[in-house]
């Protein structure tokens, strides 16, 4: 299949329904139903569901560019999480609900917990779906929420890969925005992007954005039931990049970057949130270190070749 047949209509859909104004409206507690209906009607929510169960049977690697687009446009609803949840629920023979599904993998805030209708926990084989009754985080314009009393730790690897893909999309968009801004903003009689000090920082931003994308792709390649090794590499790399990408983007943008009316913050707030969700870089480094030490004498090259 030509992937552009999949990606282009999805990109158009997002650009139509997920404008910065629409994102802000939902962040302020507005009605999520129209945006959600657009995603439901598109049919993309069943992309990962098996064909015999009414889906498109795509792999996580197939839909990875779509999830990255969701990140790039700061879509404020759990579209990717719902795609994964629907595939897991359908695979377990359970009914698929109509509303948005968030995935809770720990006691910290669940991404999109405040805008989801349902929460997925349990395991891929025995998923548990509950109504969403999240507790607000109190963080300004946050769509995440605390979910208590559920155990979804076994879903953490796939959730971490979703987060890595969202980070990679947002990081790429932040790179584009920041380069464009550096070429526009003039100080000392020339665009700030002509200053070597700024160029060097933007190069680091680009390196981190590409590293995040490659890391996330390693996770996506592992599939809907990923190996721990791949999830760890993916989320470690993406989370590591998220902080640096955000810091450099804000440094280059100056004060306007931290203003509410400028769109950069829609992305950088999410970069930080997704970095912390489903295990930060250190959480996954611990996991990977444990796998490595258990493998005792495997040289680095042999160990990572298995990813």
């Amino acid at each position: 299949m030509d992937m552009s047949e999949l990606i282009d209509p999805f990109a158009r859909l997002i650009e139509d329904v997920c404008t910065p104004a629409a994102i802000r409206a939902i962040e302020e507690g507005g009605n999520t139903a129209p945006m959600w209906a657009a995603f439901t009607d598109s049919g993309f929510l069943d992309a990962l569901v098996a064909e015999e169960l009414g889906g498109a049977s795509l792999s996580l690697a197939d839909v990875a560019p779509l999830i990255a687009l969701l990140g790039a446009h700061a879509v404020p609803l759990p579209v990717a999480d719902t795609m994964v949840a629907r595939a897991i629920l359908a695979g377990a023979g359970l009914e698929i609900p109509a509303g948005p599904v968030a995935i809770a993998t720990g006691t910290g805030p669940a991404p999109f917990g405040a805008v989801a209708a349902h929460i997925l926990s349990g395991t891929p084989q025995a998923p548990v779906l509950t109504d969403a009754r999240g507790q607000a985080t109190g963080v300004h314009h946050d769509v995440d929420a605390y979910i208590s009393g559920l155990d979804g730790a076994v879903l953490r690897p796939v959730a971490a890969i979703i987060r890595a893909l969202l980070i990679s999309g947002a990081a790429g968009r932040v790179m584009d925005m920041t380069v464009a801004y550096a070429n526009e903003r003039t100080q000392f009689g020339k665009p700030i992007g002509k200053q070597q000090a700024v160029q060097q920082q933007l190069s680091v931003l680009a390196e981190q954005a590409v590293a995040a994308r490659i890391a996330a792709a390693i996770g996506a390649r592992s599939g809907l039931f990923p190996r721990m090794l791949d999830a760890a590499i993916a989320k470690h790399g993406a989370s590591l990049a998220a902080g640096q990408v955000s810091a450099i983007a804000h440094a280059v943008h100056g004060a306007i970057g931290i203003s509410e009316e400028y769109d950069l913050q829609l992305l950088t707030r999410r970069l930080h949130g997704w970095r912390l969700s489903d295990g930060s870089e250190s959480y996954w480094a611990d996991v990977l270190g444990g796998l490595r030490i258990a493998d005792r004498h495997a040289p680095t090259v042999d160990f990572i070749r298995a990813a």
Binding site: K194, L202, S203, A206, R213, H236, S282, V301
Partner: protein
């Protein structure tokens, strides 16, 4: 941007090379101490290079008609990865195999290909690259070494190169020199010449580095007479040719694995002392994860080479990230070991750690400094 860099898979026939190659490497370096293996691609052993050539592990991307193996960059990726992982002494053939061979194949005349490429593939023609001069480091376009065309079509070469890796062990140098104009003409008027280092008028003085090794040298040219066929490619196109070569020079696994022998020695130490607390696992996991991502990036750039592209910006991006990891490894492992002052440490590990610590600055100097690479990336981003 940079969307062409995507995950790539090594062909099974290349993966299949590993067991036999591994056996050959093991036989050659079984008794080599870890601190010598940590020399990575700085370790020189002409006999080992010839052995690799005889066994068919050199000239992998050169066509069979020129004595090569007729495979491609993916094959070379596998072979290089095995060599670096083991810490085999590869410096002898390294530059010829990585860039001089492909350069001669691409720009050379039929005669030059017939003459040099079969020897490169056998590990019998060792090359060095003459770029830096006393007044020309990162500002390579300012080179002053000069070759004047003679009446017989040959060249008279005068000047000096410095920091030339392995010049004293090499048979040939591919030198970037000025063949017309002045230094004010910058990139114009530069050409690449193949210099037989045994010719009269050439003096090579090894330079000892801070670890006690002499891997680089200064090379003096005093009225060196070169034949007409010393010119490689077109006169005046040296800059363009050098730039294309850099995609080969900057994208390989050697920009990720320079500290991997130390990392593996540290893992064996952890195993020996039975340390598996959270701080240790976190550091081990973090370094391992970063290696995994960079390996995929290097493989992604290699795939662009396979596709016939010249991914100069992507290679710069990958090299800058890779060398940063290579430099972080000795810093972080040093901190870890010294954070456990009551733990017994094998002197060989300590010696390896300090060797890598001391040589690590070179990782982001050789093949283009960090600042130059970031300038190239900035140009790729449309900032320059």
């Amino acid at each position: 941007m940079f969307e062409t860099l995507t995950l790539s898979t090594l062909p099974p026939e290349d993966e299949a090379l590993r067991p036999a190659l591994r056996a050959l490497i093991h036989e050659a370096i079984a008794d080599t101490p870890v601190h010598r293996r940590a020399r990575s691609w700085q370790g020189f052993d002409a006999a080992f290079s010839r052995k690799l050539g005889q066994a068919g592990y050199l000239g992998l991307s050169l066509p069979k008609e020129y004595g090569g193996v007729g495979r491609g960059p993916f094959t070379r990726f596998v072979v290089v990865e095995e060599l670096l992982s083991a810490g085999a002494p590869v410096a002898g053939h390294w530059i010829a195999d990585r860039q001089s061979g492909p350069l001669i194949l691409h720009y050379g005349t039929e005669e030059q290909r017939q003459f040099y490429l079969p020897r490169i593939s056998k590990g019998e023609a060792l090359f060095c690259i003459g770029m830096s001069e006393p007044g020309s480091g990162s500002d390579l376009a300012s080179v002053r070494s000069r070759a004047e065309r003679q009446d017989d079509g040959g060249w008279l070469l005068n000047g000096q190169k410095i920091w030339t890796t392995n010049a004293m062990h090499s048979d040939y140098m591919i030198a970037l020199v000025r063949t017309s104009g002045t230094t004010a003409d910058r990139q114009q008027g530069l050409s690449q010449l193949i210099v037989d280092l045994k010719l009269p008028g050439i003096t090579i003085r090894p330079i000892v580095d801070l670890t006690g090794d002499a891997h680089f040298a200064e090379v003096f040219f005093e009225d060196v007479r070169l034949a007409p066929d010393a010119l490689i490619g077109q006169e005046g196109q040296g800059w363009k040719q050098v730039t294309a070569e850099l995609a080969f020079e900057r994208s390989g696994p050697e920009r990720v694995y320079s500290s991997v022998v130390l990392l593996d020695a540290w893992v064996r130490h952890l195993d020996a002392v039975g340390r598996k607390d959270s701080a240790t696992l976190r550091l081990l996991g973090s370094l391992t994860a970063r290696h995994a991502v960079l390996r995929e990036m290097s493989l992604a750039v290699t795939a662009r080479l396979v596709a016939g592209e010249s991914p100069v910006v992507e290679a710069s991006l990958m090299k800058d990230l890779g060398t940063s990891l290579e430099q972080d490894v000795p810093v972080l492992i040093g901190d870890d070991l010294a954070a456990h002052p009551d733990e017994p440490i094998d002197p060989e590990l300590y010696r390896t750690l300090l060797y890598v610590t001391h040589i690590a600055p070179s990782f982001s100097l050789r093949g283009g400094t960090r600042e130059i690479l970031r300038g190239i990336i900035a140009r790729g981003l449309g900032l320059r």
